[in-house]
Amino acid sequence: MAREGEDPGMAKASKVKRQRKKKPKENKTRTVHANILYDNAKGEENPNRNYANNKIKTTKYTVLSFLPKNLFEQFHRFANVYFVFIALLNFVPVVNAFQPELALAPVVFILSVTAIKDLWEDYRRHRSDQEINHMDCLVYSRAERRYVERYWKEVRVGDFIRLRCNEILPADVLLLSSSDPDRLCHIETATLDGETNLKQRQVVRSFFDLDCDFDPLKYNGIIECEKPNNDLNRFRGYIIHQSGRRDALYKENLLLRGCTIRNTEEAVGIVIYAGHETKAMLNNNGPRYKRSKLERQMNVHVFWCVIILLVMCLFAAVGHGLWMFQYGDKRPVFDVLSPEGTDLSPIMSAIYLFLTMIIVFQVLIPISLFVSIEIVKICQVYFIHQDMDLYDEETDSHLQCRALNITEDLGQMQYIFSDKTGTLTENKMVFRRCTVAGVEYSHDANARRLAMYQEMDSEEEDCTSHSGTLPRRDSVTSHQSARVVLRSQSTKSHRRTGSRAEAKRASILSKHTAFSSPMEKDITPDPQLLDKVNECSSQMDFMRFHSQPMSQLPSDLADIIDFFIALTICNTVVVSSPNQPRQKVRMRFELKSPVKTIEDFIKRFTPSRLTSGSNSSSSSSLITNRSSNRGCSSLLSSPSAESTLTKLDEEQPPRGLEHSFGPVPPCYNGKAWNLEDGELRYEAESPDEAALVYAARAYKCSLVGRLPDQVTVELPHLGKLSFELLHTLGFDSTRKRMSVVVRHPLTDQITVYTKGADSAIMDLIKPPDTGKRQIKIVSRTQNYLNLYAADGLRTLCIAKKILSKEQYACWLQHHLQAETAIQGREELLFDSALRLETNLQLLGATGIEDRLQDGVPETIASLRMAGLQIWVLTGDKQETAVNIAYACKLLDPEEEILTLNADSQEACALLLEESLHYIQAKFLCSSTDQAAKAFHSNFAPFEIYPSSSPSSSSHTTPFTVLRLGLVIDGRTLAYALDKSLEDKFLAVARSCRSVLCCRSTPLQKSMVVKLVRNKLKVMTLAIGDGANDVSMIQVADVGVGISGQEGMQAVMASDFALPRFRYLQKLLLVHGHWCYSRLANMILYFFYKNAMFVALIFWYQFYCGFSGSAMIDQWYLIFFNLMFSAFPQLITGTLDKDVSAETLQQLPQLYVNGQNSEEYKPYMFWMNMIDAFYQSLVCFFIPYFAYADSDVDLFTWGTPITTLALFTILVHLGIETKTWTWMNWLSIAFSTALFFTVALCYNASCPTCYTPSNPYWTMQRLLQDPLFYLLCVITPVAALLLNLFFKVLVQVPFSSGGQMKLREPVSLFSEPTRWR
């Protein structure tokens, strides 16, 4: 194909050279040549040699680099450095406290546990890399002149690869050829973004018209494209042919690694990005690392521990100095000289001792704490994963924890920022009402039918819930499901019913088509409108038959037909049929196009930089040839420069109509087509598109086929019409609309159909000087729009515009320039779209219902009872948002709503000021009631608890949060978020019970979250499902993604991914609470344990001349934390439940516990420390007095102390443990057994080793000593007596733990009832 450019070869060569010369300088683009032009893929002259190959290596380490690299990484954690420092200090003879080798043990243990974990993870990565690297694909071989099997890792940039159906793409490939007659290739991108619908990719335009198979040998283009980047939705570049022609490349030409080829027998492409430079790999960043609030608090206390340690060491050092000093020159025999025989001055000794003490007391800094926390968190994540209640059967997905280390943050949330669409709502759209040309069609039948379903459902639910005993229940449910199936067969149901069987059925039905639940498809048309459609189309049919111009059609009828055409074609819906799920429906109408004047047109319209001089003539002649050869299929090619111009050129053929209806199948019978209709499935990128298409189909305007350049629509009476699709101006969130430019086959006019948010469209309506009718339509439609919004419907406006050829040509010229630009293409395209979408003619509007997800109101209610402030940030319009907010009980009809809508900064400031005054006034009024105030100060944690009756509101209205709702729109929000106003805004917002931000952009969402988080110093959670929530999710302390229907971007950015919104309740209230309370208690216990153990040695210093001596054998000292006392606390930290899951869900108020950090307050740390010191005093002095003035030796005395300490901390843990399972018993038994076993073995193993303690046979002798047992009984009792007493004492007046928590809310509940 590229042969035709051979004659001007010289010019091209020079061009290529210029390109190559440029490359190193600008270096902003990547140039890809075909590898087959060069001998060797890695050869010197191959320009692709510098690009990454397709071998992927996600491992962090190699065999050699593992140790140094891993250690280096671990030493980033400050604690590890500290412990290594201490271990090394032991190697200094003057200060060493333990055997140096032994002192290394804990550090080595901790480091190696982490290292083994890393190694295992890395090995898993390595194995999966290997697997992927060794997958096969077909690569064109220069030597063998055919495609040969190669491993993925051998694929290089510039290789040609052949892909067959259902193969996975090994790299990012530019599509050059496809077996599909339309030169399309369908891919499934589920692995990239989770979207299961098919996406079309197009062959690069210049390779479009190949009749025969693509021959790599003939390829000689050079591709210039962007550097590898991680934007999945962007690809820009151009291909330079030998002829010098440049063709722009789009993301539609690029097949991404990881996608699967579907529907296409064979495709050939050239590798553009390989291996780690593919977009999929660049998008793949590991799990996120966040530090939780609890851990931040904990770190403060670790720091305090360091200070305590230093104080203790200093104390001991001073003590030692004084002790030395009191002997003066008379050196006692037990004060051993230094090994060199020199005498140390008291001061020097004190300094050395200080260092020694740091080593001895190192246990105070809990070395294993960090590892334990990690282990516990992994277990917590495991249990969250395993929770059946967080599993969604319908999508077979369960909760995903993507961030492993912030589980406990879930228990401390204070603010929830929620998206609306897809998060609170199903994001399954149902067409409810529409208005066309100012006339409303209410679709009452639809609403009635819906109501009927709901009744039936509630009856069924009643029936099941009343069905009493369990065995009976079974039969009832089966009966019910049978009925459901019946019903869904006869009338087709929707899913809101909560009935599993039905849901499942719905999911099976919609398995292959995203966004097509039975409900969406099943729309009862409004009879009036249906009649009009029929009438209209029959008239059109008549007119067509009589060759009358279409403009004679009455304008309201024309509007109706236009309205439905717009619904049908102004979208990106792909049609497929279910019997061949991934087989698109093909229907091509060959149009004949005279090409007489094409050259004129090209001369007039083609931008000079695209085709210049002689080229233009040659290429145009080529087009002429081709189009005649192939029956002008090129006309239907993509909306590209030449072909579009060619089509434009069709100079209103006199028999145009006949032509365009040439090969219409003779089957005009609506019924026959309907049958086929039923088989069609629509796959849309956004659910409301699908809903509209289904709605149009209910009116017999069905979309039967969509190709990149052509949309086929079947209309009643008129049969199939194919619209030439000239341009699609996709939806974006700034424009809030999308448009298609088509040529209407009946009128042959170039028509723009625009669909978008009402605010976006209404401003663009042609100024109403055009006629009274239009003014009327606009005002009426606006009325209806308000009505729809009040009903909580999503509104869309449909408008159209007819372009004259001149206008179009003028616009086209700019647009083409924009399309081919490499730099700033987005902006140019955006501007171009803005230019087109003006002076529209309003056709009508639709109201689509976005159904609330199951259990949303209940979840919101209980989250709010849990003291969580819920803000909804949505891009929807205010009325819709407010209505959804009412529907999901976010707003209460009884509460006042402050609405902030301002047009300017000043107005906004004024509004905020007013609201503040209002709130203060309200606050004053409520605070006069002293009793109320007292009540709230007593029950501060429950202040947000909503009252059930307005009469008691003065008593339950908290003085910080009033019964107010705040609604603010995007524009005002922008003003309110300004630095000067943000404080006021916050002051207003925080006094409101609920805040609703409408029309907010993704950026605003994240700004709001950031503002609240930073200014109020609260824990924030953001939940959303779409790409527009990503920034918000990333900013919040905890980001939750709904793994729903709008792709995976939100999930990829989130810390936790939920299948449904209602799972948030259990995740926060139960798992969050548990994780927080478990971890908080474990951390406190850790501090206690270490302090208690270390204090024993500290007390001993008073009896050994502050010499740094320890009565506890160094083995016990070092392994006490790591082994003997480690397991029970891990078990408790993982499994303990202070309150059962049921109670936590029934009484969301318990959640405030975590919000106020009640399990881990700074004073608790100090209380624990004091308790630890007290207990260690007991554990030290009972053996001290019991063995005072006896012949006991150092370690025979120290071993019982160790044992006592172990027992004491185990019993202490027992007191802290709220739920005892066999695991707890086992772990405690195991710990005890482990200690004695190790002690016995250790004490029997070697009579001469383990200096200095040399504990040979110590334990064995102790076990024969009754005194030992007597001590073991009394000491833990004495040590924990007070602790236990105070625990009981504190709980008695307010009742005890679980019971208190059970009772408190009960009394709160009962309070309002009594007031009544």
């Binding site: 008379k330 037990f334 200096t1251």
Partner: protein, 368 residues
């Protein structure tokens, strides 16, 4: 399948806990097991007055009798203690304590008379006690070589560096090396019974059986095993600086000489606290008829060698019988009684509080 594993790897990243990677066909539904759903059967003790009260009373009721028993047992132990440091001018050992030196060759002897007001029926244990002697000092405790003491010939000739600076003296290895051995207690104590008729009857003091059996037979050993010629075995070593006699002349009995001398072994077991006693001799009961030590006057003859005045130390001799729980120490009995009483008392306090507040709570419950 491939894609899914690829995908799982990419997305999950480090999340590896989700169990063995299920195939694509298998439902991801979690298993409904008690463990995985965190519904393990559990005992949930709620610390209320109601549950804790009985525990308090039971502990109180158990501990008080035990404490009384222990206290009585301890009181039945007969113990006599005499301080012979010689700090006071009046003390018989005052002179000896004054002219002290580690290397004085002329032994100083002092005689301390005492009176036992009750007969000691069973075996009597003779202890010497030291006060203010920090045998638990960190550097002191370390200053020994266990291999040498075990009879290892290499260690005998080249003691470990832990013994420094008591490892070599005049270029000869010290046996036994280290500060502990160097500071060994070397007073000699002898006990005489003053018969009412004036004769001084020496009381036979048993020198063996005072050390742990395992110490004597396992931990400690003379170089060369059972070689009776200890002099030859310790050839090439020198005695510790403070010692008067070399280690192979500690006792005439070859079974109690050298490193396995029990006085030495006892000394080498470093005391836990600065005031300690160490077993010196045992007076075995001769027959069931005669008390081991009858009531009457006794004389203690001390060869005063060991200096303690430099560190304000005290030296004592203790005669004591022992019971199943060791020597006389009323502490444990008192402790049990105290803890038991406190438990009981707290129980009563709780009972009162519970009674007062419990009613209120109950009524609140009922009102709901």
């Amino acid at each position: 399948m491939m894609a899914s594993s690829y995908n799982a790897k990419d997305e999950d990243g480090h999340i590896t806990v989700s169990g063995p990677g299920g195939g694509t066909l298998r439902s991801k539904k979690p298993e409904n097991t008690a463990f995985k759903q965190q519904r393990l059967p559990a005992w949930q003790p709620i610390l209320t007055a109601g549950t804790v009260l009985p525990a308090f009373f039971i502990i109180g009721l158990l501990f008080i009798p035990i404490g009384i028993g222990l206290f009585v047992t301890s009181n039945n132990i007969k113990e006599f203690e005499v301080d012979y440091t010689g700090v006071d001018m009046s003390s018989p050992c005052f002179n000896c304590s004054q002219n002290f030196s580690w290397n004085s060759t002329k032994p100083c002897t002092c005689t301390i008379p005492f009176y036992l007001d009750q007969p000691y029926e069973s075996n009597v244990y003779v202890y010497y006690g030291l006060s203010n002697f920090y045998q638990n000092h960190r550097r002191y405790v370390k200053s020994r070589d266990d291999s040498q003491l075990n009879g290892d010939v290499n260690s005998l000739m080249s003691p470990s560096k832990e013994c420094e600076p008591y490892a070599f003296h005049e270029n000869k290895p010290i046996a036994p090396c280290g500060a502990i051995a160097n500071s060994m207690f070397n007073d000699t104590l002898e006990l005489f019974y003053n018969d009412p008729n004036g004769t001084r009857i020496p009381i036979p003091l048993n020198t063996t059986g005072i050390a742990w059996w395992t110490d004597k037979h396992v931990k400690f050993g003379n170089p060369g095993g059972n070689n009776p010629n200890l002099t030859a075995a310790f050839q090439g070593t020198t005695k510790p600086v403070n010692w008067r006699r070399p280690v192979y002349e500690l006792d005439a009995d070859p079974g109690n000489n050298g490193f396995i001398n029990e006085d030495f072994i006892v000394w080498m077991r470093t005391a836990a606290l600065p005031t300690f006693r160490k077993l010196y001799r045992i007076i075995n009961k001769k027959s069931s008829m005669v008390p081991t030590l009858p009531r009457g006057n006794y004389t203690l003859e001390v060869v005063y060698n060991y200096p303690v005045r430099s560190f304000e130390g005290r030296k004592r001799v203790i005669l004591s019988t022992i019971s199943w729980m060791g020597g006389k120490n009323p502490f444990l009995g008192i402790a049990y009684i105290t803890v038991g009483s406190v438990c009981f008392f707290l129980g009563v306090v709780l009972l009162i509080i519970h009674h007062k507040c419990g009613n209120r709570n109950n009524s609140a419950d009922i009102s709901n």
